[in-house]
Amino acid sequence: MLTYILRRLVLMIPTVVIISLVSFAIIQLPPGDYLTTLTAGLEAGEQVSQGQLHYLTERYGLDKPLHVQYWRWMSGIILRGDFGQSFEWNRPVKDLIWERIGLSFMLSLSTLLFVWAIAFPIGILVAVRQYSLWDYFWTFIGFIGLATPNFMLALILMYVAFRYFGQSVGGLFSPDFVDVPWSWARVLDMLKHLWIPIIVLGTSQTASLIRIMRANLLDELHKPYVTTARAKGMSEISLLAKYPVRVALNPFVSTVGWVLPRLVSGSVVTAVVLNLPISGPLMLRALKAQDMYLAGSFILLLSTLTIIGTLLSDILLAWLDPRIRYT
């Protein structure tokens, strides 16, 4: 087990290096950079000091060849934990990201719990009662959930909440609570707003997990060992819980690997619509404004998180099912 984890960790290193190269390439792709925009603003008579321009050019080696720029960026991250400066916000990228990553993570985690809490029992139900009314009902809901783009669902829910419940929609907080320090009232207020993003983000995942659970369980339910256990007079519930569900859970766990990155990346679109103070909209804005260090750090961070998420689910899986380690 330990060697397995170690081997996977070593394999991770080149992947992360390549990802950092790709992130850098992506932020270099658009012609020009933020300084060009800044210089244009300077010519148009905006208040940007020549010294500031000079300082920024100097610090990031923006007039130097690409590999020098890449090296400065990477060495800053590795050696000093410095992700660079956001040009647009005029603040360190690290602070900007830290501000939002907590809420992003909280949202992802609660969505994951929501998805599991719903998908798990329903998946079992529809597999055991195959071709029943419930099965058809959830299959139908599942397909709709898969076919509806997240932002569509967000818009519809917002419209419904706005029109019929008169709730202030969008964001994670009511206007009174946006800039106040954490308190119980603020947490409660957040919980009141949390349900829309959770439903929006969770629906398609729930739908696909129900499908997976159903398919896996159906494979197991017709195996001889189930018949044997039943013939021995085991009660249906404990039979289910003890054998087929446990086996069917196996691929279920492996989906954590893709649930996590999907939660991170899928939330971008939804967060823009719902105006959530999480990392997605900030990243979109950074990409559009060519705020290169902010955008690049985001891509780098999200990709690394994805890799870690995959690794975690693989380890979990290997721990649950020893066969996997040796293939």
Binding site: L29, I144, P149, N150, L155, F162, R262, V269, L284, A295
Partner: protein
């Protein structure tokens, strides 16, 4: 040499296999006649029979076909050209289409819509529309309207339906921010949105078959390298990657180039799934008896692949493609919705939904959400179609 080796075929297994496949002819299932039909039927025939039994897939393929027909004939089907705007009717609500007119002579078939009475709300500074039952605008079939070239080739000015007087307001699905007809724009969006899925899939199919085939056929170092690349591409969260690449498309590119740029970006990820599918097929088939036999018979590599291997997994590939198209459509929609995909004046469903991005516009004009309906319909029906194809792809299995 060509006589079938009857003694090798176990009659029992043969019967039990045919019993699962009920030929859909009136003859009772299992009767000798139909059994013979099953035995005579070719692979594609068996697939078709199996596919026909999948009700949802049949519905899905009908709807898909319909949507692609709409995409083909947009200029004819849309009552108005996509760019026509009318400042008087910004955010006009949808009108109901009345099919029958009640007159002194009785009820008769004559479709019409009522006009609008427009007042300006001084406080909210916006137009308030009321249906004005005193004005009637008649609607006709095959009316003359704005001239167009069908698929850019055949000039005409007939539209499937439209107002009889060209100036009359007809907004069956409401109007948008600039007073453009939503119905026409949704119909125009069909072409872009549906074709982007097709073009993207063709691109990723090319990459997927080439690289997946290489990987599966040769194995070894090639396989290892290609598999690592695929794993890497799949490891990157897609939306940030797409966003990064899409944001890199210069703003001054002409619409057509943006279109291909976006398709290219989408298929950059899309090919990995197809490549995996192709590879696993190649791997499992490389050691099949008939492939080895072909090789021992001295057929060249290309012939072995094209003549023997490809036909046997073609159906799986087709199913995989069908399931990849809706993914592309959804991705394009998301990107355009965020404003980093296709951009106006190009009209796609995502571009249309971009107008409905904030709750304020949705609250004033909920019909701006309507482009979501064809998206859901298209994605659903393509998914059903793909599911049916996937099940039918292996007609010998259960």
């Amino acid at each position: 040499m060509r006589t079938p080796l009857n003694h090798l075929v176990n009659q029992k297994t043969r019967v039990s296999k045919t019993a699962d496949l009920t030929p859909p002819k009136p003859g009772t299932p299992g009767a000798p006649v139909s059994e013979q039909r099953v035995e005579m039927a070719g692979q594609w025939q068996l697939m078709w029979w199996k596919f026909r039994k999948h009700k949802l897939a049949m519905i899905g393929s009908a709807v898909t076909l319909l949507i692609y027909l709409v995409a083909l004939f947009v200029e004819f089907l849309a009552p108005f050209p996509r760019g026509v705007y009318e400042a008087r009717y910004t955010y006009a609500p949808p009108q109901a289409l009345h099919l029958f007119e009640r007159t002194e002579q009785g009820v008769r078939f004559r479709p019409f819509v009522y006009g609008y009475k427009v007042t300006i709300d001084e406080v909210a500074i916006r137009r308030v529309f009321e249906i004005d039952t005193s004005q009637k605008h008649y609607v006709g079939l095959l009316v003359r309207g704005a001239p167009y070239k069908l698929i850019g080739l055949f000039p005409s000015d007939r539209h499937l339906f439209g107002p009889l007087e060209q100036e009359a307001p007809m907004y069956l699905l409401g109007a948008d921010r600039l007073g453009r007809d939503m119905l026409s724009r949704i119909i125009y969006g069909t072409r872009i949105s549906m074709s982007i899925g097709l073009v993207g899939v063709v691109l990723s199919l090319f990459l997927g078959i080439l690289l997946g085939g290489l990987s599966g056929y040769y194995g070894g170092a090639v396989d290892l390298l290609i598999q690592r690349v695929i794993e890497f591409l799949r490891g990157i969260p897609t939306i940030p990657l797409w966003m990064g690449l899409a944001a890199a498309i210069p703003l001054d590119w002409p619409p057509l180039r943006v279109y291909f740029g976006i398709t290219l970006i989408l298929s950059l990820i899309g090919w990995t799934g197809l490549a995996r599918e192709v590879r696993s097929r190649f791997l499992s088939m490389r050691t099949e008896d008939f492939v080895i036999a072909a090789r021992l018979d001295g057929s060249s590599e290309v012939r072995t692949i094209m003549r023997y291997m490809v036909p046997s997994f073609l159906s799986h590939i087709i199913a995989a493609i069908t399931l990849a198209i809706p993914q592309m459509i959804l991705s394009e929609t998301s990107l355009s919705f965020l404003g980093i995909g296709l951009r106006p004046p190009v009209v796609s469903w995502g571009v249309l939904l971009n107008e409905a991005q904030n709750i304020r516009s949705v609250a004033t004009a909920p019909w701006l959400l309507l482009p979501g309906v064809p998206i859901i319909a298209a994605v659903l029906s393509l998914n059903f179609l793909g599911d049916g194809l996937r099940d039918a792809a292996d007609p010998y299995g259960r």
